[in-house]
């Protein structure tokens, strides 16, 4: 017999249950682990090899239901139906069994091999409870394994059981709902022909009863669908509620019954401090005070640490330059390679990395502690003015590190419209590269108060753009319905892994673009095409009241924002920018670099997430708006002041 079994395990479960931690423990990392509801939106894959088996592990999005109201739910359902994983490992938060069983029951409806990971068991014990595992297994008809993923407890057993279930494709027996529902499911099942889709008939029948559009499309038989509607209406008449509600209620009733049978109180309820902490951190006054304090502290640490690391890495690369320049290859090629290719790599490692690495480390800390959900809570009312809900504030914070992953981070939002609004706002948030410009130019030559003024102007600008987008984009934003996780002490290893994954995302996506852009730019200089570009930028120089050569640097900034400053120094052969620009020009230049266009990596990410049309429109929109505002700012500076 073949010794190798190629099995696929799919991890499914609610948000905040530690699903991603299990994924990381099994596969050795490849995934962001989030305390943030709905953070795991992409399907991530990893592999796990033992002596006997090679196993593919897939991490499905964290969701609460298997209806089709969100993309994540559709993705999860389709994955299970089409890819047919050998085992679906349903990760359940032991400390919130009632709610989590509701989701588990829906997976069981699909009649696929299931193993349950009863995770965060330590939290349940802390609450003073225990769960009768044997009984739970009997009631559910599937293996249940106690796990504490963050401490790597129970995962080996989980793995072994999953292999057994997957190898023999052990199917769960259906959990039956109320008689009047089951009767109708039965009648529907008899009508459903054996389609060439090998999905459980029971699942199809239940979904047809619920009038699920995706499944109706799949079945594609008018008479069956009409029959299902008729049965559904009968139930609605019986219960006085919509058929969707009836089934939701039925599943929750089952969940309650099961959880009551297996949950045992061990000792008196331990006090959870979350409520007391929230009395301060969600306080209508102090809450915002602490929010601002925490964010300011975060940026302070990032920039202190960042500038230190940046200098350090920069000097390391400088050490390499002399030996490289003494290599025996063509002089022009050498300069091209160094300034084009290597400088691009240096930029990624030396200028961006030192800021975004500490930034993501702190962000992951906030995420795992549960504080990000509190930020969403606090900012919800404010964000609704921009047509989105509080969760949208998180990608905006992420943007201060780098806009590229922030655009991806907008996936926490339910609607495409909301995602586009927040992505546009995110590209206007000063990323670490732009902060370096504002500090290096405006703060250095005009004083820190002017740098703060530019930040303030940018924030007002972002707010106004948000109002504008909310007003003119079709549709309305979704309201907030969010689970508030309990506060937890973040685990260092988990945070480090999470930061590593985020950085990997940044490097695999952004670095190639940066290097290519840098090489192109070097090509422009070598081919002596700059005079032509100067002609193009002349009108913009006039609008902004800047020297042509300084305006030319803005083109390079579109490749990488910090290039504006580097090119300014290169063109004018000085770092003393006050000798080439007046104070007013420095101010206009500083503001315009902040908002005038998303960098190429951001544009590429916009294209990936929303298509070329959106990416192009956003780029043009931001450019026009920035020129307009830059022009106005110039007029204010020159004429009025």
């Amino acid at each position: 017999m073949d010794k190798k079994f190629d099995l696929t395990f799919a991890l499914a479960g609610n948000a905040n249950v530690g699903k991603s931690v299990i994924f990381n423990q099994l596969t050795g990392g490849n995934q962001i682990i989030g305390n943030w509801p709905g953070k795991t939106v992409e399907i991530e894959e990893g592999f796990l090899e033992t002596a006997a088996y090679k196993i593919r592990v897939v991490d499905l999005p964290g969701i609460y239901s298997l209806s089709t109201y969100s993309e994540e739910e559709v993705v999860t359902r389709e994955f299970i139906m089409k890819e047919k994983p050998d085992v679906v490992i349903v990760v359940v938060d032991a400390s919130a069994l009632y709610r989590n069983l509701f989701f588990l029951l829906q997976i069981l409806e699909m009649e696929v091999p299931v193993v349950v990971a009863l995770n965060q068991y330590d939290l349940l014990e802390k609450d003073g409870f225990e769960i009768d595992i044997k009984k739970l297994e009997d009631l559910l008809g599937v293996p249940v394994i106690k796990t504490i993923a963050t401490k790597n407890v129970g995962l080996l057993e989980l793995f072994n059981r999953a292999v057994l279930v997957g190898k023999d494709r052990i199917m769960p027996k259906p959990i039956l709902y109320g008689k009047e529902i089951e009767d109708r499911v039965e009648r529907l099942m008899q009508k459903i022909p054996t389609l060439n889709i090998s999905i459980s008939k029971r699942f199809i029948a239940i979904k047809l009863l619920e009038a699920d559009e995706e499944i109706e499309k799949l079945v594609n038989d008018k008479s069956i669908i009409a029959f299902a509607h008729k049965l559904g209406e009968e139930l609605e008449a019986l219960h006085g509620e919509t058929i969707q509600t009836i089934l939701i209620r039925e599943r929750y009733a089952q969940s309650l019954q099961i959880s009551q049978e297996v949950l045992k109180r061990k000792k008196g309820l331990a006090k959870d401090l979350s409520k007391d902490i929230d009395d301060v951190l969600l306080h209508p006054v102090f809450g915002f005070f602490f929010l601002i304090l925490i964010l300011l502290f975060m940026f302070f640490v990032v920039f202190k640490l960042g500038s230190f690391l940046s200098d350090y890495i920069g000097s390391l690369f400088d050490l390499l330059k002399t030996p490289f320049m003494s290599l025996h290859i063509g002089e022009k090629l050498k300069i091209f390679l160094w300034d084009g290719v290597i400088e691009g790599v240096v930029a990624a490692f030396g200028i961006v990395l030192p800021y975004i690495a500490p930034f993501y480390l702190l962000l992951s800390f906030l995420e795992d502690s549960g504080y990000l959900a509190r930020i969403a809570f606090l900012t919800d009312t404010f964000m609704h003015k921009l047509g989105v809900h509080g969760k949208a504030f998180i990608p905006l914070i992420e943007s201060f590190g780098c806009n590229v992953p922030a655009i991806m981070g907008t996936r926490v939002l339910e609607r495409r419209r909301d995602r586009i609004i927040v992505s546009i706002l995110a590209t206007l948030v000063p990323c670490s590269a732009r902060s370096v410009i504002v500090f290096g130019l405006v703060a250095t030559f005009l004083g820190p108060q002017y740098a703060i003024l530019i930040y303030a102007l940018d924030f007002v600008f972002i707010f106004l753009v948000g109002l504008l987008l909310n007003r003119y984009l079709k549709g309305t934003g979704a309201g907030l319905i969010m689970e508030m996780p309990k506060y937890r002490a973040p685990v260092l290893g988990v945070i480090l892994k999470q930061t590593g994954v985020r950085l990997k995302e940044f490097f695999t996506f952004a670095t190639p673009i940066i290097v290519v852009a840098n090489t192109l730019m070097e090509g422009l200089i070598i081919l002596n095409l700059l005079p032509y570009l100067e002609v193009i930028v002349k009108p913009f120089a006039w609008i902004l009241g800047l020297p042509t050569l300084a305006t030319l640097t803005l083109i390079f900034g579109a490749l990488r924002k910090e290039l504006t400053l580097i090119m300014l120094a290169t063109f004018y052969r000085t770092m003393n920018f006050s000798s080439i620009l007046t104070a007013k020009q420095i101010f206009v230049y500083g503001f315009v670099t902040m908002v005038y266009i998303p960098c190429v990596a951001s544009i590429a990410m916009l294209k990936r997430e929303f298509g070329s049309r959106v990416a192009i429109l956003v780029t043009i929109f931001e450019f026009v708006l920035a020129m307009l505002l830059g022009g106005i700012l110039h007029l204010i500076c020159e004429v009025i002041l």
């Binding site: 609460y64 239901s65 209806s67 109201y69 400390s95 919130a96 069994l97 009632y98 709610r99 509701f102 509620e241 919509t242 969707q244 509600t245 939701i248 209620r249 929750y252 979350s274 409520k275 929230d278 969600l282 209508p284 959900a373 969403a376 809570f377 606090l378 919800d380 009312t381 609704h384 809900h389 509080g390 979704a478 309201g479 907030l480 319905i481 969010m482 689970e483 508030m484 309990k486």
Partner: protein, 83 residues
Amino acid sequence: MRKLLSGVKSGKKVKVVDFIVPPHHGVPQYIIRLQEMGILRGDIMTIERNGEFGPVEVEIKGTHLAIGRGIASKIVVEEIDNG
């Protein structure tokens, strides 16, 4: 006494009575979402936090949910005594 969830003070216990649904548009998505998150007619929940503005935080089915003010003003509840 019937109230909207957005108008109930922190610390009170309420029973979910109804959802306000705009006429002729079917059941809005957020109502279904609320139900999937465990807020169904007849359910009892505790208001954990409800200030002058910002979302309403409730405890239901053993977990805490934050519900935006807009949605909270679509949920009709009844205060339960001694809550």
